[in-house]
Symmetry: C2
Subunit: 345 residues, 2 copies
């Protein structure tokens, strides 16, 4: 399957995931609640690491779990892993193959921690090591750049969060996600036209905050992987602690800014970047004022709950990267220097 | 004081810090060991956040503490902070002023967690909120870009790690750090000459792994703050999971690669970047083979223990950024768009 068809396939894939894993997520949640889990410890690389960032914010705020992102080298190289007895140790990986991620989960299990694999391959080494498995049900991934395997990881993370919380309205919101993604895919031809403007963009910054810090990271990663743009991602707070110095008139800033709790803070930064620094913005938002700041506005659906906005907000970003890659004359299917499964240690 | 004099002052400042805080670090360590701490939860921004990354690796490997880096927006904006009862909650901030960092520590204390401030100002709001305080004793900071306040934060983190472990040889190694920093400062004029080559560099990648992932982040931040270079930092493992696609012949890669456990892994990546991708390297290392890969080698002292290498390895990086900023004709003392104390929420 091509990259484009995998982007377009996402509503159907997410719907299948919900159907096939809802009850499994309930079982996983029950096991977590029964055990003495005081925090979560997540290991992932690349796109999956961006999904882990979403879990850090979502499980932190909705389930009040402190979430640590693993430093795999402590397990694989330094050989002195931290004590994980009271943690939920989670490995997130599409393929379930990268030895460093498998090693973190194996060590968690050895120490007696509760372990969970979130993976697209339930027969992978990662799934075999973990006590619990949530499948992402994305189907086989043909493109090198991850799209549907990212949104399904986010969905699995959100589904588990809802299951831990056990409120019916959370599940109702999850059920609406495939439709919201479908609606966003209608931006395709507008984004194709808009992408022409960025043909010679060689560097940019991507901003998101809170739940959408993950989206900023994933957007930036796709820009690097596919369009070879040096794209750096920041939360709107971190960006002010130093990196803002790189912004000159015309500097391209891409931003995710759906309505919600962090809107005001991030909006303040972006309007200052336009007014005081002369930055040029691409903004994905469902707020008219925020879209009004942008040279290239990417409208998101109006009825988008903030906690699920990363699942929908990444879609125009995927389309933007796809069309920019084509505008630059690069190959969307086989980006240089990348393999489908990267094995690190 | 100017930026350059603050860089040069570091050996003296580190020596003073050791003298003034060694016994305090022992008291802090005893309190931590007495309480039921199962993990550490760190809040910081900008340069201090890079120091927090060092703590994540060092406390993880040497003290076997799982370390989570806080998402401050969960405290300040979402209003649903995670449960921190069993954590050591640490705020790291030179000024101790940023309201978001203060808010994380205040919430930790409210929940009954053990709290610690690592700050240069023992009368700051951060220090007032925390039960325990480690001072970084860096003296007043005049330059906008942090140098001595970063190395002293690293030193305080390493001192606490040694105090928790309580082994005499660790303290002996700490005592040698000021001399190693002094030795490294002798590279000044060689780095001044070498920096000319990068006058028109507008983007680059900085690589480090393990303890020196922090150094890569701090080097990249200084490049952005002072020389306005779009500099991205990666661990050698993360870089292979996608971002490596941006490398074309001549692409500048800056790397920290001291001898130690992660050397082999990172060396493998760097030699591949040269041989297969044609990247051009700047390498700070105490290994002749690694220096041999580089167009611009930055030799580090031979007798550098890996766990303390970030304190010494950042010094040639500071000098590199300082001289590059001058070569580009920018102002080293008042970088555009930055304030001494950034207050975010």
């Amino acid at each position: 399957m091509s990259l484009k068809s995998e982007i377009l396939e996402q509503p159907a894939v997410l719907e299948r995931l919900y159907r096939q894993q809802r009850s499994r997520a309930g079982e996983v949640a029950r096991t977590i609640l029964e055990r003495d889990v005081t925090s979560a410890f997540l290991a992932a690389r690349g796109t999956s690491d961006n999904a882990a960032l979403y879990a850090k914010y979502l499980w932190g705020s909705m389930n009040r779990l402190p979430v640590a992102l693993a430093a795999p080298s402590l397990f694989t190289i330094y050989g002195t892993p931290p004590r994980l007895e009271n943690c939920l140790v989670v490995g997130i990986s599409q393929s379930g193959q990268s030895p460093d991620i498998v090693a973190v989960v194996a060590e968690g299990r050895r120490q007696g921690a509760l372990t969970l694999a979130i993976t697209n391959d339930p027969s992978s080494p990662l799934a075999e090591q973990a006590e619990l498995v949530l499948e992402t049900c994305a189907g086989s991934e043909g493109a090198i750049a991850a799209t549907k395997t990212y949104t399904t990881q986010l969905f699995a993370i959100a589904l588990l969060s809802a299951a831990l919380k056990g409120e019916a309205e959370l599940f109702e919101a999850l059920e609406r996600v495939p439709r919201l993604v479908e609606e966003t895919l209608a931006l395709d031809s507008a984004i194709e036209r808009a992408a022409q403007r960025y043909r010679y963009m060689t560097q940019c910054v991507v901003i998101g905050r809170g739940y959408n810090y993950a989206t900023a990271n994933e957007w930036a990663l796709k820009l690097k992987e596919l369009a070879y743009v040096v794209a750096e991602s920041y939360s709107s707070a971190d960006f002010q602690h130093g990196p803002i110095a790189i912004v000159t008139p015309g500097f391209p800033i891409l931003a995710l800014l759906p309505k919600g709790a962090v809107f005001e803070d991030a909006y303040g930064l972006l309007s200052g970047l336009v007014e005081e620094h002369g930055a040029e913005l691409v903004v994905a938002s469902n707020d008219a004022t925020a879209l009004g700041l942008a040279r290239t506005p990417l409208p998101l659906p109006a009825d988008l709950p903030e906690w699920l906005s990363p699942l929908v907000g990444i879609v125009p970003a995927q389309l933007f990267c796809y069309h920019l890659t084509q505008a630059k004359g690069y190959d969307t299917e086989t980006p240089r220097g990348l393999l489908k499964v990267t094995r690190t240690w």
